[in-house]
């Protein structure tokens, strides 16, 4: 059964209470010494058997990072992070090359099963052929790359993808096996000097996914990565690089969870997308990191840099995100519309409850001629949370005929939360057409009572109304993911009323 469908089944069975991924897996792990130094960077590089150019790239980033300051402009408030009090690398033991699922620690497999990602079922690792009659050809396949703490533990459907010419593998492997591609594209969208967290990531990233779709190829299945932080005091710094060559198409899904812990955990990822002429990349995220408890204790600090480069003419990049977790979210998936007639999209649902703080949005940077972008953002704030949309739309001098449409809607549940919209709009070319719409509304008692009078519980009523509010965005998600996201939305809002 496809991973996502399995997850949906699982969600149905789960006792609807609290964070449902908050378990911890007890396995031995191989960690770098605590703290950050050139030695830590070297340790990570060495663990990964990296070539020297990669180590030098990391060290350069590290030296740059030392000179940088944490950004403070976001509407989020948290105690200062002690970067020396973290582990930067944690790998499940024993660390050896995994060639079949049987060699993976059964505890890790169990973790993924709990998460609803049955690697064993979906997965046929390279060389592991499906038994006759085992596979249902009608079911949609999803290739999964599972990242546990810092290390990719299993990538499925590799062989089948290879047949189509698609490369889908942990980035640590790509560095060794496809150095020419990695060297050409890594850091070409998010340079090592980009921002404090991206630079930190460049120095210490441990794994992530790498995708290359060759010219004219339509990737035969959805690609998916599940990220899991398990280890205590460990930062997760994954790096994802996706390249769609001329005329290629790929749809990529990303899911994230972490155990419940009292202390905060740091997650600083970088995602780079490159779309060449006529290529299209669709990137969807369901982010459900642990948001902290009802008193605001614990939870993930999510500082993520995601950027897509529409490098070629008529290329297209589309971001869809459903953000329900994390104590703090700092995330602006963006598009650089460099190619003429290229287009970028950003569809977002950001839900905050409890003490969560979300500062998220997008940047649409119009450089080419006749470029277009579309932003649909739905923010839902409940409990004592703060939810900010921050977005930049800009047209370069040469971006003749640039067009943007932005709609930001916020929904408030209760009277102790806040929703904020901070749009930045710059047009340096007089032919640009930018439209911006924004609304803020409160969930009405009358609407809730109407639903409840028809037999829905209070929480079902809130879930229904909110799902209606976010419908435009949910429709952008791949089908199986949309169902999962819909359930997740209802669960995230539990206890938000009454």
């Amino acid at each position: 059964m496809p991973a996502v469908q399995e997850t949906v089944e699982r969600v149905k069975r789960i006792d609807v209470d609290q964070y449902r991924y908050g378990f911890e897996t007890l396995i031995e792990s191989d960690k770098a010494p605590k703290g950050l130094s050139e030695d830590t960077v070297k340790f990570i590089s060495q663990k990964k058997n990296e070539p020297d150019w990669m180590l030098q790239w990391r060290l350069e980033a590290y030296r740059r990072w030392l000179t940088m300051q944490e950004p403070t402009w976001a509407r989020v408030d948290y105690p200062k992070i002690d970067f020396q009090d973290l582990y930067y690398y944690s790998a499940p033991k024993p660390k050896k090359t995994v060639t079949s699922l049987d060699e993976i620690d059964p505890e890790i497999l169990k973790t993924y099963e709990k998460l609803g990602i049955p690697l064993r079922e979906v997965a046929m690792l390279e060389g592991v052929e499906p038994k006759p009659g085992e596979e249902d050809p009608n079911k949609r396949k999803i290739a999964v790359d599972a990242v546990f703490d810092s290390v990719s533990v299993a990538t499925t459907f590799k062989a089948e993808l290879k047949k189509a010419g698609v490369i889908f593998m942990p980035i640590s492997e790509a560095i060794r096996e496809h150095p020419e591609l990695v060297q050409k594209y890594l850091g070409s969208v998010v340079p090592t000097s980009d921002n404090f967290y991206a630079t930190l990531n460049s120095a210490v990233f441990s794994d992530g996914s790498f995708v290359y779709v060759p010219p004219g190829v339509r990737c035969p299945m959805e690609l998916s990565t599940y990220f899991r932080i398990n280890e205590r005091n460990t930062g997760q710094f994954e790096r994802t690089l996706i390249i769609a060559d001329k005329g290629a198409y790929v749809s990529y899904l990303e899911g994230c969870t972490a155990p419940q812990r009292d202390e905060n955990q740091l997650h600083a990822a970088v995602v780079e997308l490159v779309a060449h002429d006529d290529a299209e990349i669709k990137y969807s995220t369901v982010q459900n990191w642990y948001p902290g408890n009802s008193e605001g204790k614990g939870g993930i600090y999510n500082f993520v840099t995601k950027r897509g480069d529409c490098r070629g003419d008529r290329s297209k990049i589309s971001w869809t995100q459903v953000e329900t977790g994390s104590a703090i979210t700092w995330k602006y998936p963006s598009c650089i519309l460099r190619g003429d007639n290229s287009s970028g999209e950003f569809y977002s649902i950001a839900i905050s409850n409890g003490f969560q703080q979300v500062d998220s949005g997008t940047k649409m940077i119009h450089l080419g001629k006749n470029t277009s972008s579309r932003i649909i953002s739905k923010g839902i704030a409940a409990g004592k949370s703060q939810n900010t949309y921050r977005g930049l739309v800009t047209a370069h001098r040469k971006a003749t005929g640039a067009r943007n449409f932005t709609a930001c809607d916020s929904l408030l549940i209760g009277d102790k939360c806040g929703a904020h919209t901070v749009p930045y709009i710059e047009a340096k070319n007089s032919s640009a057409t930018f439209e911006h719409e924004a609304t803020t509304s409160k969930i009405s008692e009358d609407v809730l009572f109407y639903c409840i009078q028809r037999g829905l519980s209070q929480e079902e009523a809130v879930g229904l109304v909110v799902n209606g509010f976010v419908k435009d965005v949910l429709q952008q998600l791949p089908m199986e993911f949309a169902v999962e996201a819909q359930k997740l939305i209802s669960i995230s809002l539990e206890g938000s009323v009454g």
Partner: protein
């Protein structure tokens, strides 16, 4: 047999008492009309029976099928068979009417320990009922009440009534905002639901509605009490003489 028994009910909103000891008994299969001027407490009564938050019951009780209704949450009451047709049905953008109907129906069935409807059974049922109410299929694909005319909103209420098969229907000012044709369609829908097992409480200002939905009993409310009860001719009497005579009686 009594389906609904309201006994000496006293209700407050914030610090103000709205119902001052209201008593009303509705037997199975009966249609009761409740008439009265603005502010007499008609809508308060309907809200308290349905369990709308914001009302404090300070005295008295409400029994429904012999059970204490005030002990039940509003969704439990719905599952037990209490249906309130709203004076102003709300709009729920992005939630397709069809999806709403199905979610609500299955929630009620689940609460009663019944199996959920299968998709074909549900669709068949909705098609049947919506046809008789002259509700076009494309209306069911739109968001709940979004962009519906006044008549369409009320017909959507009757559609739900027909679908959920409640044993008590409270119609709160069903005639408000309807022209005569729209009123007739909605009333025909309601009449089709008359059954010896189903009771209705029709709340209205005007006698007009009662030409279409003919009641067995008419009550006059004034200042938070039932001040007079009688047969359907009482409604005609009121139409002729107005409510003023009862204002003093209360």
């Amino acid at each position: 047999m009594a389906l609904l028994e309201v006994k000496d009910l006293k209700v407050r909103v914030e610090e103000r008492e709205i119902l001052h000891g209201l008593t009303l008994t509705v037997n199975e299969g009966e249609i009761h009309a409740i008439m009265g001027p603005n502010g007499s407490g008609k809508s308060t009564l309907s809200h308290v029976i349905a369990g709308k938050p914001g009302y404090e019951v300070t005295d008295g009780q409400i029994l429904f099928k012999g059970e204490d209704l005030l002990e039940m949450s509003p969704d439990e009451r719905a599952a037990k068979g209490v249906f309130l047709a709203f004076q102003y049905p709300v709009e729920i953008p992005g939630v397709a009417t069809m999806n709403f109907l199905r979610t609500a129906l299955n929630a009620q069935r689940k609460a009663r320990g019944e199996d959920e409807f299968s998709t074909p059974d549900f669709l068949r049922k909705v098609r049947e009922v919506s046809k008789s109410l002259n509700i076009p299929q494309d209306m069911l694909k739109r968001g709940v009440n979004v962009g519906f005319s006044g008549g369409e909103k009320k017909r959507n209420e009757v559609l739900q009534m027909a679908l959920f098969e409640p044993s008590l229907c409270i119609l709160d000012e069903m005639d408000s905002g309807l022209d005569i044709d729209a009123l007739r369609i909605a009333a025909d829908g309601v009449n089709a639901l008359r059954s010896p097992k189903r009771s209705m409480v029709v709340i209205t200002h005007y006698q007009r509605l009662l030409n279409y939905i003919v009641p067995d009993v008419v009550h006059v409310m004034s200042k938070g009490r039932v001040v007079k009860s009688g047969g359907k001719e009482l409604a005609l009497e009121l139409e002729a003489s107005g409510y003023a005579q009862f204002e003093d009686a209360a």
